[in-house]
Symmetry: C2
Subunit: 230 residues, 2 copies
């Protein structure tokens, strides 16, 4: 029986959550089939069965697992004979670091650049909830953030400097082959690519070249979805 | 024959280079004996034989290797039967990410806080060279940087947030046991601890607790050297 992935959905069936993309890549890496159930931002009821309010959530037979990191760990435990996301405890520990680095030092910078694009591309029924919660969180209007994004772009790009530096020596963050550390950051890139025409890195940036490689993985899984961005 | 480590030295034989500490930890992890040769900042001649101007440099029989990262990779290649720094190519690739993250997003923030302390603790013969090169690099005086350090401290502490977050789940960046990812950041902590009385993290910070564990490794190798800091 296929795994069910509950994931965020916007207008026109756009699936843009960076955290849900981490899980999509993890499932593809393991070679596991999955069906998806779209969940709107404000529709907390749809995943209430999971005991918490955020996607991604997966259901695998009797098991329900929430949170992209917990899902990755679960998949390796439940399917040890499929290609490992983490071949050792140390690999998992260091991928955890990439995960928290992305959550705390990358995504918070990029959301400031594209939050109004997210707003523009969510389901109409979510707009009031989203606008109110985000303007409260950021202490300013989404329009003001949008207007300042060119000014903030260099700082966001600089947050990716450590990735740029490793990509000078190796094709993926995980080395010669892509791995969960790459899926983490690709979630961010895919999120931005789907909701925004904004160019966050130039075509000659090693991060862009890496992203192109990531778009091609798993028969172009990430490339084939509708996207507004370059 | 023991390996020779050429490392930075300040006044009163202080050995404070963060990059040389990475190598000290790597050598200790492998269980390799080493002798040290102190090198002053401005004494480029002492390591000219290595074909470049920066420490750490190691000599191991006929081999000379410069740069802490290259040295770590060399030690695993040359001594595959000793405890590995990187048990897989993927572990090495992700440690490389921690290395560039530390170089680009951690050390540049902390140097602003302690650069005058570094100046105060280098060999007198290096002071003119150091003052001129650093004031040029930072575009301001060391005294001005020193005066602004309380103001800059929150940003430097925030650079460590991803580490703080992983330490909530695991005792070391590398997981249950310390590894090269830990040695990288411990180099930074040890550098600051040796040259500066400034408290960069509070005693109840998980980073402080981790640092205390790191100070105890290898029979207290890092704890036993003279240090001005807490």
């Amino acid at each position: 029986m296929a795994i069910t992935l509950y994931e965020l959905v916007g207008r026109d069936d756009l699936r843009f959550s960076p955290y849900c993309w981490r899980t999509r890549f993890a499932l593809a890496h393991k070679g596991l089939d999955f069906d998806t159930v779209p969940v709107r931002f404000a529709d907390k009821q749809a995943i209430a069965f999971s005991g918490q309010e955020r996607v991604p959530v997966i259901c695998d037979g009797d098991r329900t697992v929430a949170d992209s990191w917990s899902i990755a760990c679960y998949l390796d435990e439940a399917y040890p004979d499929l290609p490992p996301l983490f071949a050792s405890a140390r690999e998992r520990a260091m991928a955890r670091f990439v995960n928290t680095w992305s959550d705390l030092q990358v995504n918070p910078r990029f959301i400031l650049l594209v939050v109004r694009d997210v707003y523009d591309n969510i389901d109409e029924r979510d707009r009031e909830y989203f606008l109110e919660s985000r303007e409260k969180r950021f202490g300013t209007t989404l329009d003001a953030l949008h207007a300042a994004r060119d000014e903030r772009l260099p700082e966001a790009r600089a947050a990716l400097d450590p990735v740029r530096a490793v990509l000078a020596d190796q094709p993926y963050i995980s080395g010669d082959e892509p791995g969960y550390a790459d899926y983490i950051l690709m979630g961010t890139c895919q999120w931005i690519r789907i909701v925004s025409p904004y160019r966050i890195v130039e075509p000659d940036d090693p991060v862009h070249e890496w992203r192109e490689r990531m778009l091609g993985l798993f028969d172009g899984m990430a490339a084939e979805v509708a996207a507004l961005g370059p």
